[in-house]
Point group: C2
DNA sequence: CTGTTAGCGCGTTCAA
DNA sequence: TTGAACGCGCTAACAG
């Protein structure tokens, strides 16, 4: 902590015997400045350790060089294995282009459905500090929040919706596609019946995708949907009950996502139950670690880092004038 | 994306029949403004959906209301189970007080030792957008980078150093303390000998802490240090070799951190090897998931969310004039 | 209690 | 090719 005054274009100007206007042009590499003075100015700037005041620049230009990464449901998203990777890819891509990323989150996990009072950031977003925005868990946003975003001068990408939201760029999680892929795989592996396990409806819209993916299952495969009701991470009862229901039906394959998988692991009831049946997981790579000891598991993997990168690219292309579009995460098979 | 002009204090002033100065005071709740006009102005601001331009405010006041979270080694930190939780706690605490958090990372994983060229952000940090800064993996920072931070007008907290860095606030990871605690525990559990497993020295300063913690072990406990050499996540050879060396010594307990634990799991060689011996892990809660199936594991847990919160608090107290200080993460025993 | 004024540091326009 | 001057939107010091 030092109280030395910051060095400004003025300081450089005086040192170089020019005006601040010339300094500004020189530092931005404007070829209209004579090469000699340009290089002299740049040299002085380096020597004085000049750092442009980006608040001033943002005020003047109306662009901050900063993007927002916002989440609607709570800060847990920031350390969630799925979302944190998505965010990591986003931030990496931003860092590569010298863009900054500011994270907005409600201070505590919000109740469902999310009311607009829980979400300060959609309004605050037009504070001049941010040029664009990617939103985690955007399916939780209220209509009002969406309207704020639409009315702002921001470019917005919605992440992990399964439904179309007109006017926004979207990176879709593609739950339906990966369910479909998992079921196809289960059929290839010889299963005659499969169960799809979901978390409680109120916790995830993934169930929508699950159900969509179950329509028109592969020929000869009998598919049923089972839900973990009232799931609490430390309360395995509902998980065990769901497992019991599934077990009674003795499906040849079990399809679930990583959250449900973790719920099973936490409930500690998997072992010995599925002696003969193949288990088919569609899931997320962050859990690869949890699966290291679990040889029977097959899964679908998405390159989430690449997904975050995609989201970033959508915003940047938008800034260059391209129309809103929607892309899907790509999922591929892997063996656990 | 909308191109409507943003509403300013001027607009409100005109609508209210006052000047922008009064508007500014009223909106900040300055009691010097008469209650009547204050409320009238606030009402108008709400109706017009006014959002203050924070770039302008930052330019004027010299404070941005934004903190930085920076990492020195690469963006992988952002989705690492340990660091992302620390960050989550930091951001949660910030969100509670309406502070913003901007993330700075080198765009790619940097080589060791980290050269200053790899680190744009320590210089860029004095760009006027940021009031203070917490640094992940600060032991990787070069002397030049540290000097930049010291010479800036920023309040800086270094995270996960085990050594004192004068002039900085520090949140220490306390490796030595948790090694000591793990060994004490191993002795209580009846072990006569223990092995401490570390990752390659060049990858972590934790080994310093490991070695420090091994000094003056509990009475009657024989402790040896073993290192995984040349560790690559997809190359289990070095891990297996380390395991073989340990196994040959047949210690009664094995002490390691979560990274080394994951290395073991990935190498897939744990099973059957430690049939009778207790395994003592000192490790990090993010790996609780990986341990769900692993009943023999004992571990130390840190509340990392609370740790991040602590780091945030240190910066805030610094801003209020408190002298630099150093705190440790608190570790407690748990059963896996 | 409120109005006036100045200036934070930068980028940009208009003259020279 | 460069200088002079202005203004982005806000806060703060001073005057009334």
């Amino acid at each position: 902590m030092n109280s030395a005054r910051r060095v400004t274009t003025q300081d450089i100007a005086e040192a170089a015997g020019v005006t601040s206007g010339t300094v500004s042009r020189a530092l931005r590499g404007d070829p209209v400045v004579s090469r000699a003075t340009r290089e002299r100015i740049q040299e002085i700037a380096r020597r004085l350790n000049y750092q442009p005041n980006l608040s001033a620049r943002a005020l003047r230009t109306g662009r901050s060089g900063t993007l927002a990464l916002a989440c609607s449901t709570g800060p847990w998203v920031l350390h969630h294995p799925y979302f944190s990777r998505l965010g990591s890819g986003f931030m990496t891509a931003a860092a590569e282009e010298g863009q900054r990323v500011t994270v907005y989150t409600p201070p505590a996990a919000t109740a469902f459905p999310v009311s607009v009072e829980d979400q300060e950031w959609p309004r605050e977003m037009s504070n001049g500090l941010v040029d664009g925005c990617a939103v985690y868990q955007s399916h939780r946003l209220s209509q009002e929040s969406l309207r704020f975003l639409l009315d702002s001068r921001l470019y917005v990408v919605l992440l992990n919706t399964d439904v179309d939201v007109p006017g926004f760029f979207q990176l879709r999680s593609g739950s339906d596609e990966r369910i479909r892929e998992s079921l196809r795989w289960a059929a290839e592996l010889g299963a005659r019946s499969a169960a799809v396990l979901g978390l409680p409806e109120r916790m995830t819209t993934v169930n929508q995708g699950l159900r969509a993916g179950m329509e028109a299952p592969p020929r000869g495969l009998d598919v049923r949907f089972e839900e973990i009701r009232h799931y609490e991470p430390d309360e395995p009862k509902a998980v065990v009950e769901a497992l019991d229901r599934i077990h009674a039906a003795r499906p040849g394959a079990l399809v679930l996502n990583s959250d449900a998988h973790l719920a099973l692991l936490r409930a500690g009831r998997r072992e010995g139950r599925w002696s003969r049946e193949p288990a088919v997981f569609h899931h997320r790579p962050a859990d690869a670690e949890a699966n290291v000891l679990d040889r029977e598991v097959h899964y679908l993997v998405a390159d989430l880092l690449e997904g975050g990168r995609k989201a970033y690219g959508m915003i940047r292309r938008a800034q260059k004038g391209e129309p809103a579009s929607s892309e899907s995460l790509q999922w591929k098979r892997a063996e656990g």
